[in-house]
Amino acid sequence: MTQPTNTHKKGWYEVQHRVAPYLFIAPFLVTFLIFGCYPILKSLQLSLYATNGPKSHVFVGFSNYRFLITDPDFRTAVWNTLVYAFWSVFFQLPLALGLALLLSQKWIRGRAILRLAFFSPNLMGQAFVAVLFGILYVPQYGLVNRALHPLMPHLIPLDTKWLQNPSLVMPALVLASLWMYVGFNMIYFLAALQAVDQDLYEAARVDGAGPWHQFLAVTVPGIKPVSVFVLITATIGSFQLYELPYLMLNNSAGPKNAGLTIVMYLFQNGFVTGDLGLASAIGWSLALGVLVISLGQLRLTGTLRNEMQAGKGGKAR
């Protein structure tokens, strides 16, 4: 399994041993500096310029940001993105956790197949899911109406125009996102549940804790780090929504911009119109928004944890 480097000189051998870790990590450092670090700094500068394609630049100060604040389209994009992020995460995570809790029970038959079934939509890229759902949402004949109409005849008529009616575009997006991501998040919850120390359950049972108390005292603190991770990644992912509405709505932002998102707005202004300065300002707005919300979530879950531990301490002893 080894290839002795012939009668190697001791000096060379020493040198390569010392240099190796740096050499191995160098590709990351080089690509990061050129394609990560430089563009981040550059975008800060670029956001203060009006540009037309990659060539012509004019310094405009903060007017890109001022434009964004006053542009009704940008406001629509931000609003839509926030609404989507809220509802998709709001439904995704409890559903994913519920499925994971059930699937982690040893007495469930066919767990492997069930897990595979729930996860499978995630293998399709968002773009492909969008094309599929664009057709599933067709009025009259689409599968969604065919399935939901018999269940809710008054609420959902057979000719419900999910993608033509501005007020239905968001529910349509959230539903598609549930289909796509619940199983994905479930995998994380399942892994977390399996990592919880089983002895803790036994101890809680000995202490006379029922299933609900076991859940609160053992499961919740046990899966908390992963839950926070899932919450934050799901939120960040929702903020980057683009392909799903764009392709589902036939390469557009939909009726009355009902499917316009921040990233779609960025693409249209930065790369269709060609204003890279404005695109950078949008990028920074998005990054700061994501940062603020992630930090807020960390704060929120951090305080929650302290309460939980206090409650657990009270109960266990």
Binding site: T5, F28, L46, I108, V131
Partner: protein, 276 residues
Amino acid sequence: MNRDQKLSPGRIAAHILLFAMAVVVLTPLVWLVAATTKGKNDQFHYTFFAPTITAQNFLDLFKKTEVLQRNIWNSTFLASITVLVQLFFSSLAGFSLAKYEFKGKKPITILMLATLMIPGQLTMAPLFELLHRLGLVDTYLGLIIPGAVSVFGIFLFRQSISQVPDELLQAARMDGCSEFGIYWNVVMPVSRPMTGAFCLISFMGTWNSFLWPQIILHNRELFTLPIALSQMVGVYSQEYGMLMAGTLIAVLPVFILFLVLQKEFVAGLTAGAVKG
């Protein structure tokens, strides 16, 4: 809950609920397959499969969109190269972080973590400008080079390689193996499961990616499958069977790879999250 009861009503209900939900989740996929087999007139006549099955949708697909074969080849080529490049550089860097002590290791690790939190959209405009200056717009290199090293992959490999026993590396060193030789002949062969997982994750990422290829690729000859499909949606929005045939072709390779690498994939996906 009584643990000795084999089939309590609650347990039966749980099974019914889970299997019903699985059916709901799988229905769109079954519908997708069914839609590709139906002729135009049958498309909405039958909700799922029609009595007569036709290959017309696939024939139309290749006749009307003469470039599609090209797009399939493009996607395959691009994804394979990207996977190989990312696999090599990410595992190498992961090895470095897992098995060596060196100056600057900590700041580099923190730097990597920080990059995971920056949304890619932030750098798209300046990156496009940079690639334009380098002459890489409208080339696959413009897609491959900026993402040549996957930070996610580095962490994945750092985690799995740190479990390789140090004695194994020492023994190789005694044999006069160079550090790169250790990586190539010792570390990578024992990291097979993680390699499989990473290849699939990386392949999916490239195969499904849309926004950045949409920005970088302008020449139709270079379009990847998602981009080609989005063009088809614009032109043939009423040709449901054909669109679904294109979608099926586009998602099938990932499904097949997944079925082969399922176990490793799930382990790889959750490795960082559970331990961290």
